[in-house]
């Protein structure tokens, strides 16, 4: 794949912002690791060799009675002493680093929430679930949620903004007035009311939030298109007889995308925060989901267990700060003053 010289120079400018560049890689590593959360924090082993067969408990459910010759008809509990004994007698198993997933309950603690110990490195929450495991899953969930939300609202926002800016006229007039009215709706209240009417799921919450986040980019893209549609090279394309849609995509959109890209990291920050605050209030993702907002809420409800609040705070603070630093670097990378001065001859 080859990049245009502008792209190359932008990447160079991005790299020159050391803080943003390092943040970028840290976040990439953290996010990639969290994508494999099942292999890092899970109460099921990654791989079992049992009587010559290879078993993958993460991906497949094995019942205790049918697979391991036990008595229970339910899925094998790999923390149960009998199961451990049975497997090690006929083979071996590889356990994840953290032997809990986000929902598994540690019954070996005297009282929940339990403080950090060798068993639970960051303690447990008030339902005896491992905080570290929940944080890993929660980080993944927040990031995925934010990225999907931002991608979808970018697509909607860019499309509508482009149409408005490029064609103007009545379409522009009505959409702008609609957006102005839509802006007036208090988002948080509406989400709270709606989430009490439907059973919230990941996609429900995403959809509801999308209803309000798409507006963020419209004004920006609209302004870019308004500006660019009178550029000489757009006029030139029009006089060549290039179809309008091609002009929009080929000649105008790249300009608008520059400002969109500059905005995206900050939109991700906003989305993570919004999700966390909804979860904190208890109107977000379905109960039991590993969410950072819920962890903060537990921290508030259990002031005698500071590890809950502190963990929640640091995970959010670190993730958001990294994202902001990346945002600053992206802004540098797309800053024409930095890109187009010097080095050009």
């Amino acid at each position: 794949m080859s990049f245009s010289p502008i792209t190359k120079r932008r990447w160079q400018a991005f790299k020159e912002n050391r803080r943003g560049y390092i943040s970028f890689w840290i976040l990439i590593v953290m996010f990639t690791l969290s994508l494999f959360a099942e292999c890092i924090a899970n109460d099921r082993p990654i791989l079992i060799q049992y009587k010559g067969d290879y078993l993958f408990p993460i991906f497949k459910t094995y019942n205790e009675n049918t697979t391991f010759g036990g008595t229970l008809e339910t899925e094998a509990d790999y923390g149960d002493p009998w199961v451990i004994k049975e497997i090690s007698a006929h083979g071996w198993m590889i356990k994840p680093l953290i032997p809990y997933d986000y929902a598994s309950i540690n019954f070996n603690i005297p009282r929940a929430p339990a403080p950090p110990s060798t068993q639970n490195l960051l303690g447990t929450d008030d339902q005896a679930r491992d905080v570290l495991a929940r944080v890993i899953y929660g980080f993944r969930l927040s990031m995925l949620f934010a990225l999907i939300l931002v991608s979808l609202s970018s697509i909607v926002g860019v499309t509508l903004g482009a149409l408005q800016g490029y064609f103007g006229g009545l379409l522009d007039l009505f959409l702008q007035r609609f957006i102005e009215m839509w802006h007036g709706i208090p988002v948080l209240f509406l989400l709270i009311i709606l989430s009490s009417m439907v059973v919230p799921s990941f996609w429900w919450v995403l959809g509801l939030m999308l209803c309000f986040t798409w507006m963020g980019l419209v004004d920006l893209v609209r302004a870019e298109f308004l500006r660019a549609r009178n550029f000489d090279y757009v006029r030139a394309a029009r006089s060549l007889g290039v179809p309008e849609l091609t002009i929009m995509v080929r000649h105008v959109l790249p300009n608008a995308l520059v400002s969109v890209f500059t905005y995206v990291p900050f939109m991700v920050v906003g989305a993570i925060t919004l999700l966390a605050s909804l979860d904190f209030l208890g109107f977000g993702l379905p109960s039991g989901s590993p969410s950072l907002g819920e962890l903060l809420q537990q921290g508030k409800n259990n002031p005698q267990s500071p590890w809950l609040g502190i963990t929640g705070f640091f995970v959010l603070a670190i993730a958001l700060s990294l994202m902001l630093f990346i945002g600053e670097a992206v802004r540098d990378a797309f800053n024409p003053r930095k890109i187009f001065t010097g080095g050009v001859k």
């Binding site: 000489d232 030139a236 060549l240 007889g241």
Partner: protein, 531 residues
């Protein structure tokens, strides 16, 4: 008597190995009461030289070497405080862009005497008296007493007069004028130059005039210094330099002035475009419902008739509606009036029905920096029209045609993969011409095709356009404010003012015997030796 002396001045940017010199070893003297023109193309270092006199260079610049003496005082050793005392006091400055040089929030009066008050806190005549004197000096006596006059109420020429008034408020010994007339229309240029010349004589002021325009130089300068790539290549009395240039670069510059006449029209010529009267109006819309409540007329009922191989010149100043006319003819702006193009009526066609005909009508813009998409390669830019109108062509055939077109406009096929920013202004304009010509159009609107280019390139681009016209029989609508360009290309001329035709006729007739006063003043501005 020497007023200003610059000795072996060097200016550069960057440090160490990245140091790049922009001005290398300039020496220059200006005597009292003398107008010296510093001529050069963009990037020749002429503005840097001027800015360095009053230490106005950008932070990033370095001055490793050089001496500047002003009234025998060594400015290169002077303190910042001393320089500040001189700025606007003993040395006045005028810049190119009068539209942005005045603060829109302050009344003109206050800005006019700001530097006067600053430098004459205790002595001197009262400010009100000074305002009166200055308004009279710059030829704006009707502004006296108008306390609440703001910059937006002034035209470009008036603003530039105000700028001059500000610069001479303290009766400076030296006036540095950096392209003072470039942003102005030709007839205003003459007026501003006359004013400068008058002030120079009255006050026995030294003037350093920085310009790229040889016509201006010939009219006003006592002496001229020609600058090229950071060096002064020739110095001499204006007449001597123009009559008998010594350096090759000066000779090239003088030879590059647009010259010659239009390409002979071949017989038989076919009709390309005919209209009994075309009008372009901009609607004024109401604030809330955007109903049209009136019109601003850009062009009123202009009859056009163009045959193949012919060039029709549209001459006028900014705001005369000449560009609107070009866009209106090409239907890039809504226009009224019946237009017949290649035998078909096009004014009532829909955008879609018009699209196939677009390949026969093309457009070349003024600013080659804005008219090429910076994100596309030269190949993609030139091939775009081919791919739209001839989708049947194979990739190889497209490449072949692009290569051939690049060669035709004086570039090489090897430049295809490069991006516009890697090219100079003249090369970019060639690319823009290639983009327009590859579809073999019958009509091309040339919207000020040379006015954004350096003078040495202007002639070459005009020659290219004429050459293409001779070989392709293409008809041109040439829009320009520069009569020299029009004379070099056009067969028939319209002189436009505020959307109305002032005068029209065959080129030679108009140039030999202009009827209208306005045409006469344009002619004088473009060709006269004096002011």
């Amino acid at each position: 008597m020497t007023l200003l002396q610059i000795k072996d001045l060097h200016i550069g940017f960057g440090d160490g190995v990245r140091y790049r010199e922009a001005v290398s070893g300039v020496s220059l003297t200006i005597n009292k009461g003398e107008l010296v023109a510093l001529v050069g193309e963009s990037g020749s270092g002429k503005s840097l030289t001027a800015l360095s006199i009053m230490r106005l260079l950008a932070k990033e610049s370095r001055v490793p070497k050089g001496e500047i003496f002003f009234n025998d005082e060594a400015l290169h050793e002077a303190s910042w405080k001393r320089i500040q005392e001189l700025r606007g006091n003993r040395v006045g400055m005028i810049f190119q862009e009068p539209m942005t040089a005045l603060n829109p929030l302050h009344p003109i009066e206050r800005q006019l005497v700001e530097s006067y008050k600053w430098h004459n806190q205790t002595k001197g005549v009262p400010a009100q008296e000074k305002i009166k004197q200055l308004y009279e000096a710059v030829g704006l006596p009707h502004f006296i007493g108008r306390k609440n006059l703001y910059p937006h109420e002034l035209s470009g020429g008036e603003r530039q007069r105000i700028m001059i008034g500000m610069a001479i408020a303290n009766d400076p010994d030296l006036l540095i004028a950096d392209e003072p007339t470039t942003a102005l229309d030709v007839t205003l240029q003459v007026q501003v130059l006359k004013l400068l010349k008058k002030l120079q004589h009255e006050r026995n002021m030294g003037v350093l005039l920085i310009t790229h325009d040889l016509t201006v130089v010939r009219k006003v300068a006592d002496r001229v210094c020609v600058m090229h790539e950071g060096k002064i290549v020739e110095t001499g009395k204006t007449e001597d330099v123009f009559k008998d240039p010594q350096h090759d670069y000066t000779k090239m510059l003088l030879a590059a002035m647009p010259r010659g006449e239009g390409v002979p029209i071949p017989r038989p010529a076919t009709d390309v475009l005919r209209t009994e009267g075309i009008s372009v109006r901009y609607p004024i819309k109401s604030a809330v419902f955007r109903r049209t409540i009136g019109h601003v007329t850009a062009v009123e009922n202009l009859p056009l008739f163009i045959r193949s191989g012919e060039t029709v010149g549209i001459v006028g100043e900014s705001g005369s509606g000449k560009s609107s006319l070009g866009y209106g003819v090409l239907r890039l702006l809504p226009a009224e009036g019946e237009v017949v193009f290649l035998g078909n009526r096009i004014d009532d066609l829909s955008t879609k029905a018009l699209r196939p005909m677009r390949k026969d009508m093309q457009l070349v813009f003024q600013d080659p920096y804005a008219s090429l998409n910076p994100r596309m390669t030269v190949r993609d830019i030139i091939a775009e029209g081919l791919e739209v109108h001839h989708p049947e062509l194979s990739r190889i055939e497209v490449e072949r045609q692009v290569d051939a077109m690049l060669e035709r406009v004086g570039l090489t096929g090897g430049m295809k993969a490069r991006y516009p920013h890697e090219f100079s202004g003249g090369q970019r304009q060639r690319i823009a011409i290639a983009r327009a010509m590859i579809l073999k159009p019958k009509l091309v609107v040339l919207d000020e095709p040379t006015s954004a280019l350096d003078m040495s390139v202007q002639g070459q681009v005009l020659d290219l356009l004429k050459d293409l016209q001779a070989s392709h029989q293409v008809a041109y609508i040439l829009i320009s404010h520069d009569l020299r360009v029009v004379k070099a290309m056009a067969h028939y001329i319209f002189v436009l003012k505020k959307g109305q035709v002032m005068e029209q006729g065959k080129t030679e007739e108009i140039f030999q015997n202009p009827q209208h006063e306005y045409t006469k003043s344009l002619m004088h501005a473009a060709f006269g030796d004096s002011l």
